[in-house]
Symmetry: C2
Subunit: 249 residues, 2 copies
Amino acid sequence: MTLKDIPLQTHVSCGDCPIRHRAVCARCETDELVELEQMKYYRSYEAGQTLIWSGDRMDFVASVVTGIATLTQTLEDGRRQMVGLLLPSDFVGRPGRPTAAYDVTATTDVVMCCFRKKPFEDMMGRTPHVAQRLLEMTLDELDAAREWMLLLGRKTAREKIASLMAILARRDATLKLKGGRGPLVFDLPLTREAMADYLGLTLETVSRQISALRKDGVIVLDGKRHVTVPDLNRLLQEAGDDSDGGFIG
Amino acid sequence: MTLKDIPLQTHVSCGDCPIRHRAVCARCETDELVELEQMKYYRSYEAGQTLIWSGDRMDFVASVVTGIATLTQTLEDGRRQMVGLLLPSDFVGRPGRPTAAYDVTATTDVVMCCFRKKPFEDMMGRTPHVAQRLLEMTLDELDAAREWMLLLGRKTAREKIASLMAILARRDATLKLKGGRGPLVFDLPLTREAMADYLGLTLETVSRQISALRKDGVIVLDGKRHVTVPDLNRLLQEAGDDSDGGFIG
DNA sequence: CTGCGGCCTTGACATGGATCAACAGCGAAT
DNA sequence: ATTCGCTGTTGATCCATGTCAAGGCCGCAG
């Protein structure tokens, strides 16, 4: 399967794309915004679909509008490692690179806002704003990747699970804070197997550690996917991160 | 200790800096080259020195001219994970970010070619070339980080050691090819402990696996640091990577 | 309702790598 | 020459996580 086999759906309206401001043109002038607006189009994919295969020629860059996708690498014998999690507003694609470096898979239904690569790159060459914004986003990804290296290399299984929960809890926009500081509530967007691939574990270990955190009251499970975090600081402590909850002096 | 405590040595000559073309201004026009040339200066550091501490204010960006430095992250209880290895021509610094995210430590004596950040960023804003070049370099780093995630999450200790050897063998410019395809020779620039921090292992395991690879004839050791690789393909096979030696169709 | 196929959990056991400990090699300082 | 400190090696043992296996839960198709 290659890119060409993926169903393509193009929307005309653009008011429903909350992405462009955050991801690509945070500092763009009106002219560039209009230009980006004109070249953009949408694609949607079903849960489970592989959007892009490693090595595929990439003729576009994109932002995730809704849904969740993953970046994975695979060893010849089938061992897999997820190297990125794409949540809404995340950027996909490598300006200046002809091919994809990783498999991109939809774990839920996904809608992406795409820009054909050539005109996008042309625009980058003309407007430093856009290139700088891209650089900034790439630096963010690099930081995330390096934090993940610390997790993969040095954290225990329990810390890994707690770290993942903390990240999901913080990124999930639909958390229901009761008053200022109530419990966080969110749904796990990944299967146990996908979590294992992300954390460098087996799915059995993931399952066991989730059970352990539940028994110890760090998280509350309602069904297999619905999570309540009664105390974020407790969770962060379990994650082995700074106990100040990410506050940076 | 902060940046201010680090001895600073500024060189005036610049003919000895092989870096600027590759790292920062590969595509710059003459005017920009001259401008970069005028703002650059050198710093040198001794082996073992920590150049930059995570969280320090960074007032410069730089390229490594000679020597080797490492980027590391540390957990509160002391567990350490190296997240990057800086070899000559590698870039250090995060344009647009005020502070450093990692500790940077010299493992050998190091000379860096520095640019004060503010004027460098100003220039980025004016010349898309530079911003694009930076983006490209950052994408390279991101790829390297993600490949390392695969290593940390899914490879065995033996594969990890073999992978590290392969990377060092390929990056070391002083390898002595006899004829077209002879054995590769290089010196390990890292202690066993530093390798362990890079690979997510303990130093004992590193030592054992190096011994094992030696016994099996995958590498030849002369002293503790001098390595000969009789057959790169064999090494790559042990590393679990593509057996085609990195050839990309 | 029943059966079936994902997804998940739990148990029993195996093992790769960590941990603890002793010691060897070697360069620098005395 | 001797000692000291740092780096590296090797052995013995332990344990966290992997592996293998059985079965539960649940939505969906017939």
